[in-house]
Symmetry: C2
Subunit: 358 residues, 2 copies
């Protein structure tokens, strides 16, 4: 992480700092990769939840955005983002009514589905709509979350979509397991072949995930890639070799509030600031410039640091910057973040789509 | 958990439901215990973060409230809560300025400190204030978070507070380790004896924690007990034998959005609804009425359920209620909660102090 001229002592803590230069570099770098590999890029805004960065991702060349929640999409649509894919089974009367309102506000709205149940709800809702809803079939290529289990099942749902009033079949979508690029290629090639045999065209094959983003081209069947964390990066992606610490745009500024004993200190960032997400790592974050400090435990509002007893104790009042294990979870815990530009404070922006749970 | 006449199918999910009757019963039950044992009760509002429930706790007999963050205290003070203890080292110019503003708005404001550094900041800020700030010395009785390490160190800080302009020594405070009631009694008795020998009176000895709340009287030196989770209870307290499932007031209503394979289902409550807090438990929550279902994994917006393959599959669209591992973390993830009364929907209330990170 580069040097920064911001006077951290004047900022109330804990606070989320976003180095906008690093975020932009991350956006442009992967956009360039996608252009080079012939992939359409559709960033997932769950990581930042900021209108401004979503707009920047589109300006940089993204085809549109990906949301997980209808509420996130509503916020983004209200700010002129006009191509939105919600990678979720939208179920229930309340959500379906919201989906029809949303469809009227954007140029292109797409959702995913992995069951006839979901399709029936979507079709019943959109059969009278002014334009059809784009639906992609979600496929489980090894991630074991949502998704149909076989290429045959994907084709079966694609047929149902093609016949359903109010719906348009827009392709196949998967969120693969880590290291699952080959599995994506195998599943999707097979499904695409079967679709072709049925005379169903498949405009989009969408895959995603930051952990394998630099291998995206190794599944050439894929036409669109969705990626969220890449904009900020975090300790989990550094550990996975996807980026370096210098590529991490989000950090949590925190204050040492207690040095109760030799080799121990307490910071004012706990699980309500850093989240409890471990993502398979030891400890709850990397402290910039202090590899000797370990965040060994989190209470709700306290982070518990340990360091070798032979080192000088930390100073109460001292500020530290933490690169969290999981940037997306941190964004969701703060109402506002501070943008830095050229190493200086730029402005505070609201995390507009934070807490959009439904 | 009792039967409920609410039509869950009309509620958009995920949603936090608060059974107000259970919450009230929990409030009154522990208030009664404290009265019987001669303890002052000071509930920690971090669990619910709701103005209305804080007011109810006070109406039921609590002396005031406990907050962890200045921001929480500011919200509560704006709603006429006039006796607030912030159990935190308040450090830094921004927070100290906020603390003086807050002091003008409440009848009694108290904070804790465990270092000369914290005291110097408090004293410099309050020496010109219209009334002194109450300060308790935080003691580490085994919890290994903040706190002075010995009774002698506690007395040393108490002396400094007594002499410091703008401050009043208000007593000793600890957040003990689980099972640490005896350690509290030993530490605090020793500190209180030393204080008496120095001629320093100790108005309050404050301990706390829901996991040992029913043993609070076994440390008779303690005058005040602070407890947060007791109002809602959660799966961790059920596992600890503190309460039964029927005493859990908070649940997360969720919808089954996918049944991708035999023995697996996906719900729309992930780590951004249930939190990743495990608190030493297996799985991420108890599904009311379905002990056969395990929440084995959370993605951000998906909960991964598993159940024995010989059972009937869950139905897509089906609603489930989850008692989370850690109620406090869930409250912090939702802007609003739904109050239920007599098994019926009462109203939606904002989680007023949610996200008050600073």
């Amino acid at each position: 992480m580069k040097k920064c001229s911001v006077n951290f002592n004047t900022i109330d803590t804990p606070a989320v700092l976003i180095d906008r230069d690093i975020a932009e570099r991350n956006i442009f770098r992967f956009q360039e990769y996608c252009v080079e590999k012939g992939l359409t890029l559709r960033p997932h805004i769950k990581t930042h939840k900021l209108v401004e960065l979503a707009q920047l991702q589109i300006t940089a060349g993204a085809v549109g955005i990906n949301c997980q929640k209808l509420g996130e999409a509503e916020v983004m649509a209200a700010h002129c983002i006009d191509d939105i894919l919600i990678t979720y089974n939208i179920i229930g009367a309340v959500k379906l009514a919201r989906l029809t309102s949303l469809a009227k506000k954007v140029r292109k709205l797409s959702v995913t589905a992995d069951s006839a149940f979901t399709l029936q709800g979507l079709s019943a809702t959109f059969e009278q709509a002014p334009k059809p809803l784009n639906v992609l079939v979600e496929c489980d290529t090894g991630g074991q979350r949502c998704g149909v289990q076989t290429p045959d099942a994907a084709v079966e749902l694609a047929k149902q979509i093609s016949k359903a009033p109010g719906l348009t079949f827009n392709g196949l979508m998967t969120y693969p397991a880590k290291g699952g690029t080959t599995a994506v290629q195998v599943f999707m090639s097979s499904a695409e072949r079967l679709l072709r045999a049925c005379g169903i065209s498949c405009p989009t094959i969408s895959s995603g995930g930051s952990p394998d983003m630099w291998q995206a081209h190794e599944a050439p069947i894929v036409t669109e890639y969705r990626v969220g964390t890449y904009i900020y990066n975090d300790r989990s992606l550094v550990a996975g070799g996807i980026c370096g610490l210098e590529d991490c745009a989000l950090s949590v500024l925190t204050t040492v509030v207690s040095v109760p004993a030799i080799g121990r200190a307490i910071i004012d960032a706990g699980s309500k600031a850093l989240s409890s997400d471990l993502l398979g790592l030891n400890g709850y974050g990397h402290i910039v410039g202090h590899p000797e400090l370990q965040i060994v435990k989190l209470s709700e509002e306290h982070g518990h640091l340990e360091y070798p007893v032979e080192l000088s104790p930390l100073k109460i009042g001292q500020r530290l910057r933490v690169i969290p294990n999981h940037a997306c979870a941190v964004s969701n815990l703060f109402d506002n973040v501070m943008l830095l530009r050229n190493g200086a404070f730029e402005k505070i922006v609201p995390v507009a789509a934070r807490g959009c749970n439904t």
